[in-house]
């Protein structure tokens, strides 16, 4: 009887231990699964990654309703939480459907139904990651990423810069504006290089963040209608008799003296000061 009792306790302990171990392993694995590879983008409207893994039940209805086969469900060796929807912009980008069928199909709210304007989607942010190989940066005219952008001139603009190499041309630099970029990936898809120089990265990778206490002065001013700090008081100087402070800050001058202490030719000034 003692042996059966001992065996029973042993079995119970074994079960409890085994299950606890499974639970621990599962928990650790779950934590790890929140780190998405940088090239994996979530569908439009996807809530933040950690919430997404609590919400998405891996049904694939979003995948089915995407008319462009953009989305796929992660498979066993994709290194993405298995069964969750994602896309690789370089393979098939999001075409930014106006009716957003993927979001409409989602039964759980993992894709937020509050997203009704596809321009407000933030699947990621495009970053021109390789300025060394981008043709426009080299001074050539490619512009393809700029041309294909559904939000051309808002999400990507072309900024002119002097081409110092040739000395007489401009470089037309594709420039992404994160406040308008949806992360659809059409630029990355279209980049003519063998490996895209412009890539859509998840926002957590692509974006920086200012200190939470930072305030941009001019924005605050625009909002308040006026400067938030009091205007500078007028400067007062205690100067020796007969001297005045030069307006441009170039030094003390005698009252009524109109000539500057500097010669018209800077070389002359240098020569004069180096003289003993």
């Amino acid at each position: 009887m003692d042996t059966t009792r001992r065996r029973f306790i042993g079995d119970a302990a074994r079960t409890a231990g085994g299950v606890a171990l499974c639970g621990l392993g599962l928990g650790l694995y779950a934590r790890r699964s929140t780190s998405l590879p940088a090239q994996a983008l979530r569908p439009p409207g996807a809530i933040t990654e950690s919430e997404f893994l609590a919400a998405c039940i891996r049904c694939g209805l979003c995948v089915r309703d995407c008319p462009y086969d953009t989305l796929q469900l992660a498979q066993f060796d994709d290194d993405i939480a298995i069964g969750t929807p994602w896309f690789n912009a370089r393979n098939i980008p999001c075409e930014m459907c106006e009716d957003i069928p993927c979001v409409a199909a989602c039964p759980t709210g993992a894709l937020d139904p509050a997203l009704t304007d596809i321009d407000a989607a933030r699947m990621g942010t495009a970053v021109l990651v390789d300025q060394e190989n981008c043709l426009n940066y080299l001074g050539l005219r490619c512009d393809v990423c700029y041309r294909v952008c559904p939000l051309i001139d808002e999400a990507i603009t072309i900024e002119w810069q002097h081409n110092a190499r040739s000395g007489k041309h401009s470089r037309l630099l594709p420039t992404v504006h994160a406040d308008a970029c949806t992360g659809c990936g059409k630029c990355e898809y279209a980049c003519v290089l063998e490996e895209a120089a412009i890539k859509v990265l998840p926002q957590r990778v692509a974006r920086g963040a200012g200190g939470r206490h930072y305030r941009i002065g001019w924005e605050e001013k625009a909002q308040a209608g006026d400067s938030l700090v009091p205007a500078d008081p007028e400067h007062r100087y205690n100067l020796p008799e007969g001297l005045d402070y030069d307006y441009a800050g170039e030094g003390l001058i005698r009252e009524g003296d109109t000539a500057t202490p500097f010669a018209a030719d800077p070389l002359e000034t240098l020569n004069r000061e180096s003289a003993p």
Binding site: D11, A12, T15, A16, G18, V19, A20, C22, G23, L26, G27, Y29, A30, R31, S33, T34, S50, E51, L53, A54, A55, C56, I57, R58, C59, G60, L61, V63, R64, D65, Q72, L73, Q75, F76, D77, D78, A81, I82, G83, A105, C106, P107, T108, G109, A110, P113
Partner: protein, 299 residues
């Protein structure tokens, strides 16, 4: 040389013919493959009757169905799902409360075909032995999963669940996920009899819990005719559920299989040459007593 034991069901085949001795098995396979087939009709033939997979689906663009266990994990992870998913889960729950929780296992789950095959092969090859894993492990696992989901805020079982991995994999692409299914097959074949479905699978455990109040049940109504051939015990994936209803008449056990672990697979009905079992409801009284009652009132 020991004589190879007679395969269970031989008597039944002799008594009723092969077809009747496999009736529920055939129906069950038709149901499992049929359900899978309807899901595959979309991606393979472009006929979209059902979209999605067993975790959640949309039938004929109108009927939402959601796996309640996945949704429960989502709730535990503190996500409040949209109404579509919730109503889908309620429909599924109501359905299995009617037909028996683990009817999911016997009639829907694609892994069941794998584990049934492993179980059948194990019996054929006369393999015995293996580990001692209590069949309550699955309940502990089921609870642990909900706990871990709550702690991590992530639907955890879906990260590794072989059931949805197989079903989704067949429909959406599987890659090396086959290895997991092969693992279950090998486990059931060599390591533990009915090891996966009978001892470990938390999905099955969850549906067992749903089945505690299930209406449709197997009834050993004519247990008095039982000749103790033990064929039902040999084929049953959860043989412990049969003991009391079949042999417990003297101890006052009812003839209805009340255990939520019964999968309503109906295999016991198939292999019984004495026609002991039948499907009934949990409220249908013992047929013997009713018969007796009828006789007494006639008198």
């Amino acid at each position: 040389m020991t004589q190879i034991a007679q395969q269970p069901g031989t008597d039944a085949i002799a008594a009723k013919g092969w077809l009747l001795a496999h009736r529920w098995l055939l129906l069950r396979r038709a149901s499992q493959l049929g359900i899978l087939g309807v899901f595959l009709l979309g991606p393979w033939a472009g006929i979209w009757i059902v979209q999605g997979n067993l975790n959640a689906s949309l039938t004929l663009d109108i009927l939402p169905l959601t796996d309640p266990f996945v949704l429960l994990q989502s709730l535990a992870a503190r996500h409040v799902p949209e109404l579509t998913a919730i109503s889908g889960a309620l429909i599924v729950t109501a359905f299995y409360v009617l037909v028996g929780g683990r009817a999911y296992c016997a009639w829907v789950c694609p892994v069941n075909i794998v584990t049934d095959t492993a179980g059948w092969l194990r019996q054929r090859l006369g393999l015995t032995g293996g580990t001692r894993v209590t069949n309550r492990t699955r309940y502990w696992l089921c609870g642990t999963i909900l706990l871990v989901s709550a702690v991590t805020g992530i639907i955890t079982w879906e990260l590794v669940n072989p059931v949805s991995m197989l079903h989704r994999g067949l429909i959406f692409g599987m890659s090396t996920g086959w290895a997991v299914i092969l693992g279950i097959f090998v486990f059931d074949l060599f390591v533990s009899r009915r090891g996966w479905c009978g001892h470990l699978c938390p999905v099955g455990a969850f549906y067992s819990v749903l089945g505690r109040v299930a209406v449709l049940r197997v009834n050993a109504a004519r247990r008095a005719q039982c000749n103790r051939c033990m064929d039902c015990i040999q084929v049953c994936p959860e043989p412990q559920v049969l003991k009391a209803p079949l042999f417990g008449a003297d101890e006052g056990s009812g003839s209805i299989i009340q255990s939520p672990n019964c999968t309503n697979c109906g295999r016991c009905i198939d292999v019984c040459s004495r026609d002991v079992f039948q499907f009934g409801t949990r409220f249908s009284g013992n047929a013997e007593t009713r018969l007796q009652f009828a006789k007494e009132t006639q008198r």
